[in-house]
Amino acid sequence: MPERDELDRLIDSELASYAEPRAGLEQRVLARLEADGAWGSRIFLGWHRWAGAIAMAIALIIGLPRFTHRVTVNTAGESITNQQRIASAKDAAPDVHVRTRHLPRIAKSMRSARQIASGSAMRSENPQRPKLDIFPAPQPLSPQEQFLAELATHLPKAERERLLSGYNSQNAPLEISSIKISPITVPMLGKN
């Protein structure tokens, strides 16, 4: 069938010239790569990847032993109760306990905070001690607080009670006397 052959040849030849791009396509592709900032960045990207991998490896080498050590310490510390932890902290800071042993209630709350502070300080000095989970990290006694603690310790019992009663009265609820508001009277117009 010669016509079919001709048609086939026609189709083949037209297919070969089908979808021809405009001249300079290659240059436009390369120019676009350059314009996008991609051209030449592959080497840089490769270097970047290596740098990232190396940095991560170094971080792992340094960080992993510390992390595993901390996990070990925490696991061991889990069996210790909070009281035991505070007790160990007390042992670590005997000077604070001596001064605050007989404080009244106000000073007691401060004392426990300071105990924790001393424990925290010791922990930071010695990372092998169990971690106390108290937040925020307590601060050491200020000079005013120390003075108050000394005062409360050395005052006679009667004086201490007087101070406490004064403190309690300060914390007593406020009493406000009832307010009496009389209704508004409108003056009669034309009278004055």
Partner: protein, 175 residues
């Protein structure tokens, strides 16, 4: 600063741009969209140089380009109509369909191209891929993710439809 890798990639662009364009055009039927797809294809290839390890470079590129063109087509709101341009058919008729007729060669070419455009995408893309650089049915199947037998069937159907259209156009002209 041009490196060896850049020089190699530049050579790839020189070697395969036209082929990638044809693959993209077969899907998009628009020169500008096809060129966008070509740019996107080479940008992707530059960033992920998997083509260097591909067994068949051309088939690999065709697959990347085809996928990008498909995505491009999905993204674009207006899809081209898959019908032959009537003006092109008139040109074809007036060209008398003589393969040796050099006077009407340009008209004939435009008309046949319009007929190829009018084919359904599933027939057009394998036909275009088969026409360039001896991509065989198996490779076309790998590019399009279809079986080799399906490729052959589609190629046969595409050619058959083109022949029918060409013949009927010729008959209309002579009648």
């Amino acid at each position: 600063m041009a490196t060896d890798a850049d020089a190699e990639f530049s050579a790839l662009v020189q070697r395969q741009s036209r082929f990638v364009f044809k693959v993209a055009y077969a899907v998009l039927l628009n020169s500008y969209d096809a060129e966008d797809a070509v740019q996107e294809t080479f940008l992707k290839l530059y960033r992920n140089p998997g083509w260097q390890h591909a067994e068949n470079e051309r088939a690999y590129l065709a697959r990347v380009a085809w996928r990008i063109a498909i995505d491009h087509k999905r993204r674009s709101s207006s899809s081209p109509a898959a019908v032959a341009d009537p003006q092109a058919l008139d040109l074809l008729a007036s060209s008398r369909l003589g393969p040796h007729d050099t006077i009407s060669e340009a008209n004939q070419q435009a008309a046949v191209h319009a007929l190829i455009d009018s084919l359904a995408e599933e027939l057009r893309v394998p036909l275009v891929l088969s026409a360039f650089e001896e991509l065989n049915s198996r490779e076309i199947g790998e590019v399009l993710g279809i079986r080799e037998g399906t490729v052959r069937t589609r190629l046969q159907r595409a050619r058959q439809m083109l022949r029918q259209k060409l013949t009927s156009t010729k008959e209309i002209y002579h009648a």
